[in-house]
Assembly symmetry: C2
């Protein structure tokens, strides 16, 4: 009834306010607001005006009459945002859900089409936010696609046909794709196989296209010095010593020939996805959720985003149910980075009944963040440095959190703990932390810190994960994790369980992890020599990183041999699994065993069925053999 | 005495706190703080820590023991800043003088050397701030210089010798100058004559170097559409349709040959200043003063800045006394943009006893800002749009200010006025203004607004202005303005009095302007055909823009004929001036008259002395002749 009454009020108000050429919708206090399709041409100003009044005029539900709504950035609220695993810059939004409590946004089946560098839903310092029944898409994409229509294996060239969906110009032999408010070069690229609507088999042999090479002439660069540690991955340092290698020749309208590619020449029929240079190509995620408790997304489709589908930081209790990342309008690519990603979250993270397809990075990644101790500033104060330029401005946690002190060369687990009392943000790279207790005498610059309280329990259930670049699930939480009844068809590992300190500064070692009843269909078809499930650290030692792992009742239908890689693990049970050779693709590493074990203990196999082609089932080091009965059964 | 007592306390505190590897200086309540040279290696963290405590521990004076202090950005306080006439981005500072009252910073003759993208003095929402007795420089510059050591007029090439002060690499035939935290291409360039340590005569025939040309191949760009007005000058739109034209060939260490320059080939001996692409090359002004009353800079030298020496916005009563912009360490260039610049300021602006030399833009520019009416949103509300991308986020004024409504095709003066009641910043391009009164019925989208209360009185006295690119003074304030006893040796106009609405959106028409007792020595030696003093509008009509002008007792020592251009002016008296031909350079426009008059009235000449070479003294249109007795005497 509320819906209907709102619907009746709205057109009247619109009529009244039409003279002022801006629609004003239901300004009085109400439990429900309904936006009519009349605002669809550019819904930004009306929606924004209402959201900004929620404080004075509370509303529990904002609904949209079913329709297709455009959101332009021109009249969107602007914020400078540090966005984990994205670039940090000005974004605009019509939905600044900041400091709100118990609000539901219900699209009622509507499609929201965004233009330019916008964050469709910016959720910050809120509680009890639900977004449901809507689809998100962009008018112009942050990536571009071209189909290989001819190639010349001798001359090492290939020709791409590019549709009018992806306008471009050629500057000094380089392709620049032109969007409304954005442009990008070839940059990071990968092949899609249109027959499978998925990443092409063995794409790593063909891509990335070798866009850059080393500069041949420089002068006096040794005079450019740094007092403090500099990050060579952060632009503009990232551009140093690099120049374009590929040359793009125009053959006709929408037809170009690519010269000088250094890997295998892509086959005719494949579709090349191009998304511009790493470091500047993640600008516009669909959801950015920060410092928020109880966030729900229900029946939401994300067809595209210039970055991730959802990136959540420092939040708790996030439930995504029937949250689907899938491409639209004949595109191969959905989001240009991860479908979902959770940093420093706590409580529960639930992904159920979701589809994560065709995105250009992982389906999800759940982790904390290492930061590096830079200065000891007093008995209770330290200066810390963000290690990765896409974690700038990240807040380590909440007052009262337990902060672990870590020296990875000694142990993956903290050697000490301190209670966070105060965070002073100096800049996005450098912060000063104050603790309740005195810092221990052995803390020294170069040590890492992690937040021991900011890891969530994780459930991933009944999800369809695949056709995407990179991994399925990247799991770095020590809290109870259940991966159940999902299907995987991923280019790289289906499930990667890492400790990655040295490049990504992503913290957290899995323990209490169950992988149950899933189907793994032809994963790791990238061309890489990796297991479908892989436990790995990037530190070369034999310390234990992962504990208490259960992998059972899964189906592995793989074209190649290697299924499981176990490193630095204590306590892993592999039971009631069935492994088949699918025959879907040629084997790339026929000499591989099924299972590799290293620096591990208490590894157990029971009641498994092997129907594959490998000659060796388990390959292991002596230390692991001493500490487990490594017999496949 | 205070100074000495601080000096004694400081080393003790340093000794005590040394163990914590950060110096803490004089934290107790005090009238004066003295920083010792011990902090000089990186003064940022100590200075910043003290400044951030000024609220709790007030201080009226912060002094520095005389020395050379380095300021690195790594531990500097970070802000996202909209900076008028610069780029908008993250900057870092050790001196965030925000919300402070009655504070003096006294360098006592020290030199402050900055590194990277920093704003040495960020002054915001403060009152009674004085900066004195210090020099500002940068370790690595935001521009680069190369000397022409050979050329080939037939082959149309020239060779540049580049010192180790300006490290570079060549990427795909393009020069990239590499700095600690920055890089730039050739971009905007100009010639300096090292014999005169000034901009080279007739540089416009040689520069800018023709770095870009039109793209030859594009596809489907007509599919890239905009719902609202887009700004073609704002990156990335600015890059469209352009590609590199010059080719740079390495000849040896620090020696490059430049091919394909489309203007005259620069002569051997000249120094080419290069500062990167317009639109992204103004990142780091020395002073940014906003919303501040009573700002004083006394005995300050600015040897460099990656932008302006001082940019002030929305501030009042600014006095620069012996504020000198001059190059250091053998460089030709001082600041890479204007020496000083005042936008929307009020009260008094005083520049006295200053030197503004060798900067890459005007000595000063005093103006308001036009913004464009985009939407009529209600009886008292309008949506406005910033016209120029380097005015984004500019606040039109203070509550209670009189806002003028302007339609330039009708008049340079406002057709209506409204009282500002509220500003809602939606984004840096779009704001919503609410007025006390109802807006008039004839206000329509496309009209401009200007703040009638935000213009200052201006005094420029005893200043040495010259050797710089571009103009001396750009004056767009209707308040009383006195330009007295200065010397000018500028590349373009010494004094430009404009109304420039269509490109720069800089508002304000001069009236009550006195130009008295100045010496103009060989100005407009750029090669441009312009007057030394020039009144001009960019709107093609005969409306009056400028009134009540007095030009008297000046010495014009010019190599060429044209001295004065008067357009759209009512009431100008030119008295007791002496005009000589200096013979310094060849005449470029010998056919020119001395004075050009157009669309003017009440123009008067008396008691002047002409000792030049022009055959015609006054050239004018009939309308002006009808309304003035245009006889030079």
């Amino acid at each position: 009834m509320k819906k209907i009454s709102s619907y009746i009020i709205v057109p009247l108000l619109i009529a009244i306010t039409f003279l002022f050429s801006n629609h004003i919708v239901n300004q009085e206090e109400s439990e429900s607001v309904l936006f009519p399709v009349e605002i669809a041409e550019d819904a930004t100003p009306d929606v924004l005006a209402r959201i900004k009044k929620v404080g004075d005029n509370p509303v529990s539900e904002i609904k949209f009459e079913k329709g297709t709504y455009h959101f332009y950035p021109d009249k969107g609220q602007e914020y400078f945002r540090n966005i984990s695993n994205h670039g940090d810059h000005l974004i605009r939004t019509a939905f600044p859900l900041i400091g709100l409590k118990n609000l539901t946004i219900d699209g009622q089946g509507s499609t929201f089409i965004f233009h330019g560098i916008m964050i469709p839903f910016l959720v910050d310092r809120s509680e009890g936010i639900t977004i449901k029944n809507l689809s998100i898409d962009w008018a112009e994409t942050f990536h571009s696609e071209g189909q290989v229509v001819a190639n010349n294996l001798k001359g090492k060239t290939f020709d791409m046909k590019i549709s009018e969906q992806y306008p471009y110009e050629i500057r000094n032999d380089q392709l620049y794709f032109i969007k409304e408010y954005y442009e990008h070069t070839i940059g990071q690229s990968i092949l899609y196989d249109p027959n499978r609507s998925a990443i092409a088999f063995d794409t790593e042999s063909y891509t990335n296209l070798t866009t850059v090479t080393k500069v041949k002439n420089d002068f006096a660069l040794d005079k450019v010095n740094y007092k403090y540690k500099a990050d060579p991955n952060e632009p503009p340092l990232k551009w140093r010593g690099r120049e374009w290698r590929l040359k793009v020749e125009p053959l006709g309208p929408g037809l170009v020939r690519v010269h000088n590619h250094g890997k295998k020449i892509p086959p005719v029929g494949m579709i090349v996805s191009m998304k511009g240079e790493q470091g500047i190509n993640r600008v516009s995620p669909a959801f950015h959720v920060t410092h928020t408790d109880q966030f729900n997304a229900l029946n939401v489709n994300v067809h595209h985003a210039g970055g991730m589908g959802l990136i959540a930081e420092n939040s708790s209790d996030l439930i995504l149910d029937n949250f689907n990342v899938t491409p639209s309008r004949g595109r191969m690519v959905s989001t240009t980075a991860d479908a979902t990603h959770f940093v420093g979250c706590r409580g529960k993270v639930v992904l159920k009944n979701c589809t994560f397809n065709n995105q250009l990075d992982d389906a999800t990644n759940v982790h904390g963040t290492y930061q590096e101790v830079m200065d000891i500033l007093g008995a209770k104060r330290i200066g810390i440095r963000s290690g990765h330029f896409q974690q700038l401005g990240f807040t380590i946690g909440r007052i009262g959190d337990q902060i672990g002190l870590v020296r990875l060369e000694d142990s993956f687990f903290p050697y000490g703990k301190l209670t966070l009392q105060h965070v002073e943000r100096i800049n996005s790279r450098y912060q000063i932390l104050t603790f309740k207790e005195n810092i221990p005498a052995n803390l020294k610059p170069g040590d890492l810190i992690e937040n021991l309280d900011a890891y969530p329990e994780l459930l991933v259930e009944n999800c369809n994960i695949g056709k995407n670049r990179a991994r399925g699930l990247l799991i770095s939480t020590p809290k109870k994790t259940v991966i159940r009844n999902n299907t995987f068809h991923t280019e790289m590992e289906a499930i990667l369980v890492p400790v990655e300190s040295s490049h990504w500064y992503e913290s957290g070692s899995a323990s209490n992890l169950s992988i149950i009843g899933n189907t793994f269909q032809d994963c790791v078809h990238s061309g890489q020599n990796r297991g479908v499930i892989r436990f790995v650290t990037d530190d070369e030692n034999e310390n234990i990183a992962f504990t208490d792992i259960d992998i059972s009742h899964n189906q592995f239908n793989q074209f190649d041999n290697l299924i499981l890689e176990v490193n630095n693990t204590k306590g892993l049970s592999f039971e009631d699994n069935t492994i088949r050779n699918s025959g879907s693709f040629p084997q790339l590493f026929p000499e591989n065993p099924v299972i590799k074990v290293k620096a591990a203990q208490d590894i157990r196999f029971d009641s498994n069925q092997y129907l594959g082609k490998a000659k060796t089932i388990i390959e292991s080091d002596q230390a692991s053999r001493n500490k487990s009965k490594l017999v496949f059964q």
